[in-house]
């Protein structure tokens, strides 16, 4: 299944879906969607945002400040990764990306913990 060519319900088909890189590695979720364009202009889908730093913005207003403290404030490159829309290869049962997670900055948490787990026998 490729990216639908007609109108697409982004909330239904993209938001919260699993991201999988070109090597088949699960590397995050589509936690938010970013548009380009000012007021009165046609908005252009610019990027998928992935990372817990986006979560506080989606919580009910009274929980946002607590959410920011727990899940991160949305610092791009740290707790949020921008995945350019051009890097999306396919939207089917998951969102498949054209590049490796490492090259997009995704899956950092798994890479950091991999060093710890690699010390275990037969890992």
């Amino acid at each position: 299944m490729a990216i639908p060519t007609g109108p697409m319900d982004l909330v239904y088909r993209v938001l919260d879906d699993q991201l999988v890189d070109v090597e088949g590695q699960r590397c995050g979720r589509a936690d938010d969607i970013e548009f380009d364009g000012g007021l009165g202009e046609r908005p252009l889908l610019h990027a998928i945002l992935s990372g817990s730093g986006t979560w506080h913005r989606r919580l009910p207003r009274p929980l946002r400040s607590v959410g920011a403290r727990v899940f991160g404030t949305g610092l791009v490159g740290a707790d949020v990764i921008q995945v350019p829309w051009d890097e999306v290869d396919d939207i089917g049962s998951v969102i498949r990306l054209k590049a490796r997670a490492r090259d997009l900055g995704l899956g950092q948490g798994d890479r950091r913990r991999a060093e710890t787990v690699a010390r275990l026998p037969d890992s």
């Binding site: 919260d16 936690d31 817990s52 948490g109 798994d110 037969d122 890992s123």
Partner: protein, 406 residues
């Protein structure tokens, strides 16, 4: 032939893996307090788990989405986060109860210090989970858990009053809060969510696709139904052995004595062996389920089919779950009490995980030709109403009956 063998092995594993400490506690007490009058609640619970598991297995096989994937997709971030937190807490309480149960059974078998046995139980489970492949884990605990079939033989051997058994299968009501509490508990014990998280994630672990839908149907329908017979047998044995003597089997060792009454020391040993592996297997499923839910919600790499360093956060997550459960059990809290809380709170959270699966199974965009049919939707939504009623009643009944003690 290979398919038939695979099917048979899967069903046997499902039978042995059906019973956990929740069933052992609630069913044994249900039989002791109400004899056969709660058998119908087991039937309702088993129908529920069959419907729920078949749907989650089908969704996983067709769309590649395990339960928490659908929770995140269909319920969104906020409700999904509430479901995640609730599931993690319930999983931890259940895991602690199962680990405590393993230690209690080991204590009955080997008479060592309880604290040492808890440590040995956790270490043993972690080593097995780490080194044994996924299907091996399913089979070791599933096959050995089948020793609990001694209860089925004992139930017949004890010459129950069959007309009362038949009456018990027909839904009836008894005007007491304690009875209502046990209805919720018995249904809830059959419907614990971690089994479904494990089942659907296991479908991905085993690389199920559309070709495996018959296997899914057979595993869910036959495996869980035949597993339900074990629950019925536990109630029947308890009704024959404990109810006449007015004994409350509020201790796992007491439940094992039901099999001893029928078959002496052999019965007791088979019951304890079955409990050890059934409860141990449930502990493994719980730890995995906790790690699955966390990884699937956040989008991490997950799966036992991956090497530990390829899914490092998933690997660390199930290890941390075992460590936390160890800490909880070492505080000396009673595993049976933990079980009762785990089952009742599981029931409360059940609609939050059942609804997204039902919505996904009814969505042709993701399910194509394998979407729920009219009958599937009617049964699915009817069961959602049952789950909703049971979940709303659970906490008030627990408070009114003081956790089933009054």
């Amino acid at each position: 032939m290979k398919k038939v063998l695979q099917l048979a092995l899967g069903i046997i594993a499902a039978i042995g893996g059906f019973v956990d400490i929740g069933e052992l506690v609630f069913n044994a007490q249900a039989g002791a307090f109400f004899r056969y009058r709660l058998l119908w609640a087991v039937v309702v619970g088993v129908i529920g788990i069959v419907v729920f598991a078949e749907m989650t297995g089908r969704v996983a096989a067709v769309s590649g989405r395990p339960v928490f994937d659908t929770v995140r997709m269909r319920m969104g971030l906020t409700v999904g986060l509430v479901t995640l937190i609730a599931s993690l807490v319930i999983n931890l309480i259940t895991l602690a109860a199962e680990v405590g149960g393993v230690a209690v059974v080991l204590n009955l078998l080997f008479d060592l210090n309880q604290s040492t046995l808890i440590l040995l139980a956790v270490m043993g489970l972690v080593v097995i989970v780490y080194f044994v492949p996924f299907d091996g884990i399913e089979r070791i605990f599933g096959y050995m858990g089948c020793a609990l079939l001694v209860y089925v033989v004992a139930a017949v051997h004890l010459r129950p009053e069959w007309h009362q058994v038949a009456q018990g299968v027909v839904p009836s009501w008894h005007p007491s809060a304690l009875y209502a509490y046990f209805v919720v508990g018995v249904i809830g014990a059959a419907l614990v969510p971690y089994e479904v998280y494990f089942y659907s994630s296991g479908a991905i672990e085993d690389s199920w696709g559309v070709k495996d839908l018959n296997l899914n149907r057979a595993n869910a329908a036959l495996g869980f139904s035949l597993g339900g017979i074990l629950s019925i047998a536990l109630i029947m044995v308890s009704a024959e052995v404990f109810a006449p003597a007015q004994i409350d089997p509020g201790f796992l060792g007491t439940t094992a004595l039901g099999a001893q009454r029928a078959f002496g020391e052999t019965g007791l040993l088979l019951a304890l062996l079955g409990m050890l592996f059934a409860v141990g297997g449930a502990a493994v499923e719980c730890a995995f389920s906790g790690a699955y839910t966390l990884a699937q919600f956040a989008g991490w790499e997950w799966g036992k089919y991956r090497r530990p360093r390829e899914a490092p956060r998933f690997t660390l997550a199930w290890m941390i779950f075992f460590a936390l459960a160890f800490v909880v059990v070492e505080t000396g809290v009673d595993p049976v009490l933990l079980t009762e809380y785990a089952v009742i709170f599981s029931v409360v959270a059940l609609p939050l995980t059942y609804l997204p699966v039902l919505l996904m199974a009814s969505d042709r965009t993701f399910m194509g030709d394998h979407v729920n049919g009219v009958l599937g939707n009617v049964i699915g939504w009817a069961f959602f109403v049952v789950i909703l009623v049971v979940s709303l009643a659970a906490i008030p009944l627990m408070i009114i009956t003081q956790g089933g003690s009054g």
